[in-house]
């Protein structure tokens, strides 16, 4: 509905009891002041309403006062952004430890690659050490050549490198092969089992919600490619379980005891969940009444109180309990039109 000048004057008259001529005259005066002030490059502020001024392009602009903004946005006041997805690197359940491990490993490798770093600080010691090492090597070579140890050395190497049947059976390669393979197997299995099990324990509350929201929400979940496969499988299993619960409660299943769903009764659960907020109001009784009506229609309805600095205590009415935002969004898209066009997803902690 459009409120034109005539209707505006009537409404102001109704509110104040002033005569229409008086209101019309004062309205004209207000309009003139707004235009004159902004034309002069000044601004005209109506306290609690907003400020009129001209932009550099010469366009008349209005900046609403914070009070007006809050009153207009009263339904959603206090709502804050919810983090749906963390960056891929931070999404790993073990980001810091992995990075730290890599850094530590790199640091140790660096140390191994530069063992003479400290000695280089003392050139005399380095020189002496080098001379001693060279002398030892030269003396060793002379001794080996003189006493014929070189021949024996070569012959021993040949025995080891060429695997004749007798050598294999006598020197028991069985003991070598298991020794080589055993650590490989052990090393492969040990990290694998914690990788599979730990995420299943850790993300029960927050990580799980984020991950399942990603994998469930449109195409963005596919970007989580850095996570190891076992973790992905674990998460998917959880999502499927939730989805099946959703599907199980897709109809008004009375007496449903699943923790999540659109229909049934609100379940008191320990961890946070999402709900579809369909009403915002300042009256507690009205909120509870609305929640009661929705409950009679079969929805899981909940009335939530919100405290705001400007407006004070507000009440929101939500329907459904969902583990993730995408699940709530999916349910919201199937709601009757009266709720479908005017709702938002709220987080209940």
């Amino acid at each position: 509905m459009k409120i034109d000048r005539k209707k505006l004057i009537t409404l102001i008259c109704d509110k104040t009891g002033m005569k229409p001529e008086s209101v019309e005259g004062q309205l004209n005066e207000l309009i003139t002041q707004i235009r004159q002030a902004s034309d002069r490059g000044n601004a005209l502020e109506i306290k609690g309403f907003g400020m009129f001024y001209h932009t550099s392009q010469g366009e008349l602009t209005f900046d609403p006062a914070e009070e007006l903004k809050t009153e207009i946005n009263y339904k959603y006041v206090g709502m804050e952004s919810v983090e749906v997805k963390k960056p891929a690197a931070a999404a790993s359940p073990f980001p810091s430890s992995d990075k730290g491990g890599k850094k530590e490993a790199k640091a140790s490798v660096d140390k191994m690659e530069h063992p003479l770093d400290n000695e280089e600080k003392n050139p005399a010691a380095t020189l002496i050490t080098s001379i001693v090492v060279v002398l030892v090597i030269v003396i060793g070579i002379i001794l080996l050549v003189d006493f014929g140890y070189m021949d024996g050395l070569f012959s021993r190497e040949q025995v080891v490198l060429s695997p004749p049947e007798t050598t294999q059976s006598e020197e028991a390669p069985e003991s070598i092969v298991p020794d080589e393979t055993a650590p490989v197997i052990t090393e492969a299995e040990e990290p694998a089992s914690p990788d599979v099990q730990e995420p299943a324990d850790i993300p029960v509350s927050e990580e799980d919600e984020v991950a399942s929201a990603e994998s469930d929400g449109s195409s963005e979940g596919s970007e989580e490619s850095e996570a190891p496969e076992p973790e992905t499988e674990t998460v998917e299993t959880v999502v499927e379980a939730e989805s099946s619960e959703e599907l199980a409660s897709a109809g008004p299943a009375e007496g449903s005891v699943t923790p999540f769903g659109l229909y049934g009764k609100i379940q008191m659960i320990d961890h946070r969940f999402y709900t579809i907020v369909v009403h915002s109001m300042q009256s507690e009784s009205r909120a509870r009444e609305a929640a009661g009506e929705l409950s009679e229609e079969g929805y899981r309805a909940i009335a939530i109180t919100v405290l705001h600095d400007d407006i004070g205590q507000m009440w929101r009415v939500g329907i459904g309990q969902f583990a993730t935002i995408p699940l709530a969004q999916r349910a919201a898209s199937d709601l009757p039109e009266e709720f479908r066009e005017n709702n938002f997803i709220g987080l209940i902690q």
């Binding site: 459009k2 707004i34 235009r35 008349l60 709502m79």
Partner: protein
């Protein structure tokens, strides 16, 4: 202009906007409420945020008014 008029003007415009009505003041412009739906927003750091819905005051200046 007396304060009673200013106060009433402020309240009437606000109340009508809250009823989703458009208030058209001659020589000034139109006041209305624009609803922005809840949406996702990707930040530079890769975070994806769910931005809550908001009702905003929107003003459109009257182009045919006095200069």
């Amino acid at each position: 202009m007396d304060s009673t008029f200013i106060k009433a003007f402020r309240e009437v415009v606000r109340e009508e906007m809250m009823k989703k009505n458009v208030v058209d003041i001659e020589r000034i412009g139109r006041f209305e409420v624009i609803h922005e739906k809840q949406h996702e927003e990707r930040r530079d750091d890769g975070n994806v945020l769910m931005i809550p819905p908001v009702d905003r005051v929107h003003f459109t200046a009257e182009t045919d008014g006095e200069a």
